[in-house]
């Protein structure tokens, strides 16, 4: 159903754009933006919030001017020479059938992100998203090692992704005995056996659409007390084990402690 009143049209478009701007802005302020995109792109989101607000404000003069006209205006032929040019242009568009008219359905669709974002509490990707993703034990399959060339981090500072790179670039034997201290969410699966789980993170280069799994195999006898998606801090040292004919590093945990979800739930390549 078309919205026929032009004043209402402009007002609703303006409100919708402003609503999107506020939605984006609040994602930045409450930190949930990092559940959706790589931190590197947060500037774009801020710019979009400002831009949308500016565009929303731009409807204001037309809106005010239209308020002085009766609603029959949109059916008027565009021979009124004294029309403001903006309206003339608009009328010409309408004449040409240019579908800039807003329908209630269109408005509903544009508001979907805001509604879903508010109704469904924001949460980063968890174990359930692994159902459709490639999970390879112990290492990240062909992660872009080139772009983070020499990370001069000490072992204690290394996160799950750093270790995955380490496994890939260095000789595996050389990680044996080294101490690690990492944070990840618990992913339990039959393929890890009954005394091991994966401490996992998602690696996000752009937005969650490209999220890839990175995980360390952790040996911890008391996995029954752990729940999927629970965030844990794992401390321990690496050993090598043979798994399905493949040598993979495993983190022998000294401690596995519950920890709050990090502000940046994803790792960036």
């Amino acid at each position: 159903m078309k919205i026929t009143n032009p004043r209402l049209q402009s007002a609703l478009k303006s409100l919708a754009l402003f609503g999107l701007a506020i939605f984006l802005y609040t994602r930045i302020v409450n930190g949930s933006l990092l559940f959706y995109i790589n931190e590197r792109f947060a500037w774009f989101t801020l710019a979009a919030a400002i831009g949308l607000a500016l565009v929303a404000v731009s409807y204001q003069p037309a809106w005010r001017r239209l308020a002085h006209r009766d609603d029959a205006h949109e059916h008027a032929d565009h021979e009124h020479a004294d029309h403001a040019h903006a309206e003339h242009e608009h009328a010409a568009h309408e004449q040409a059938g240019h579908d800039h008219g807003l329908s209630w359905r269109g408005l509903f669709i544009v508001m979907l992100p805001v509604m879903l974002g508010i109704l469904i509490p924001p949460r980063p990707l968890g174990v359930s998203a692994l159902a459709t993703r490639e999970v390879s034990v112990g290492a990240v399959a062909g992660m872009p090692a080139a772009i983070r060339a020499a990370t001069a981090k000490t072992d204690a500072e290394k996160n799950i992704l750093d270790w995955a790179y380490e496994f890939q670039s260095a000789d595996l034997k050389q990680v044996v005995g080294r101490e690690a201290d990492v944070i990840g969410f618990v992913y339990k699966d039959e393929q890890f056996g009954d005394s091991a789980f994966s401490a996992a993170r998602y690696v996000v280069s752009c937005c969650v659409a490209d999220a890839a799994y990175a995980g360390l195999l952790v040996q911890w006898p008391a996995i029954a007390t752990l729940e999927n998606d629970q965030w844990v801090q794992v401390r321990g040292h690496f050993e090598l084990i043979d798994k399905d004919g493949q040598t993979v590093p495993i983190l022998i945990a000294n401690s596995v402690e519950n920890t709050p979800q990090p502000n940046q739930p994803y790792l960036y390549p």
Binding site: L24, A96, C207
Partner: protein, 363 residues
């Protein structure tokens, strides 16, 4: 090849022309019904795909719904700034560029037109979301059909940002050069194929009308010498109209892409995609489904270099920016449905061809 397309187009046009329903109304209604049912099916399947037999199953279903929402919002939030940028460029073109200016500078000769279209991205550095409103606006200003299509397909790769990010990921080498050259060539070829297409059978009726009017120099609004401030705000208002219009397609496209990601296991693609042909098909499908921005897809492609053939990596980098779920949906805001199908199939086939050729002869 094109004559065939042309003739099927005109017959179906005749068949669908019924006196009671105007073609515009019927097209937009079918489009809406199509989109709504696609989204509904996707959502229902996402929710009920796992048979709910126990509380635990219910838990997994709600988890999946949560994943769907997160991925959908991720794609939308990532793309929104670029769509807005494209809409603002479009708004300013609408107000500040007049048809005569465009006509004077653009070549009419078909080969040259398609070539210029393919390299226009250097001048308008827009990515795959921003390129759609800009192309639509340029069509309304009378841009030749073939040039616009070449621009639409090539611009997401032929722009400084994407070239730099590809360089950052792969360095100077065959991948970078292959990506640029293949994108140019395929966009050029597809653009050229559309040279003989009638705008009336390709563009949506409203855009075609403006396009036609621009050519006839009739009914065009003379560029008024209003104060700059007024024109500035008018540009922004037009940008707002464009954004509201295109955002619908972006949102539905993001939802479809998110549904695919929540449901389709990537492992199947990995398992299937090994041979010189299958690997290219697999990576093309992946590019279509993932709907990742062209500015970062190079980093993503790196993850596959060890497991996939080089031709298929190239196909991913060339086909993905041209067409994916969300951009295909956005094409529907510019072109008629049949044209959208060609705009998906032609780049798909060309990329497949070049990808397989690459695997057999170069990679």
């Amino acid at each position: 090849m094109f004559d065939k397309i042309h003739s099927t187009q005109s017959t179906s046009q005749e068949l669908s022309a019924s006196p009671a329903v105007s073609p515009k109304a019927s097209t937009s209604r079918t489009l809406r019904i199509l989109l709504t049912s696609l989204v509904a099916i996707g959502a229902l399947y996402a929710i009920f795909s796992a048979a709910i037999t126990s509380p635990q199953d219910l838990f997994f279903v709600t988890e999946r719904a949560q994943t769907f929402v997160t991925i959908f919002l991720g794609i939308f939030i990532e793309a929104a700034p670029f769509l807005l940028a494209g809409s603002i460029v479009s708004g300013f073109i609408a107000v500040f560029v007049d048809q005569q200016m465009l006509e004077r500078f653009l070549p009419r000769q078909p080969i040259l037109a398609a070539l210029v279209g393919a390299s226009l991205g250097i001048v308008f550095p827009v990515c795959e979301c921003g390129v759609v409103p800009v192309t639509r606006r340029l069509y309304e200003k009378g841009l030749p059909l073939s040039m616009g299509i070449a621009f639409l397909l090539a611009a997401p790769v032929i722009n400084p940002v994407v070239i730099v990010s590809t360089y950052a990921a792969f360095g100077w080498g065959t991948v970078l050069i292959g990506r640029i050259v293949l994108s140019l060539v395929i966009a050029f070829l597809v653009g050229l194929l559309f040279y003989r297409a009638a705008p009336g059978e390709t563009l949506l009726p409203d855009i075609e009308h403006a396009h036609h009017a621009a050519h006839a120099h009739a009914c065009t609004v003379p560029s008024p010498m209003d104060p700059l401030g007024t024109r500035f705000w008018r540009s922004l208002r037009t940008a707002g109209d464009d954004f509201m219009d295109m955002a619908r397609y972006l949102i539905i496209g993001s939802m479809l892409a998110a549904a695919m990601q929540t449901l389709a296991p990537q492992a199947i693609l990995m398992a299937v995609g090994q041979g010189p042909v299958a690997s290219v098909l697999a990576m093309q499908t992946l590019a279509f489904v993932l709907s990742v921005c062209s500015t970062v897809d190079a980093f993503l492609a790196l993850a596959f270099t060890h497991t996939f053939t080089s031709g298929s990596i190239l196909a991913f980098l060339v086909f993905g920016p041209m067409v994916d779920i969300k951009s295909a949906l956005m094409f529907m805001g510019v072109f008629q449905k049949r044209t959208v199908v060609y705009l998906i199939l032609l780049p798909f086939l060309f990329t497949l061809l070049f990808g397989v050729f690459w695997n057999l002869n170069i990679g």
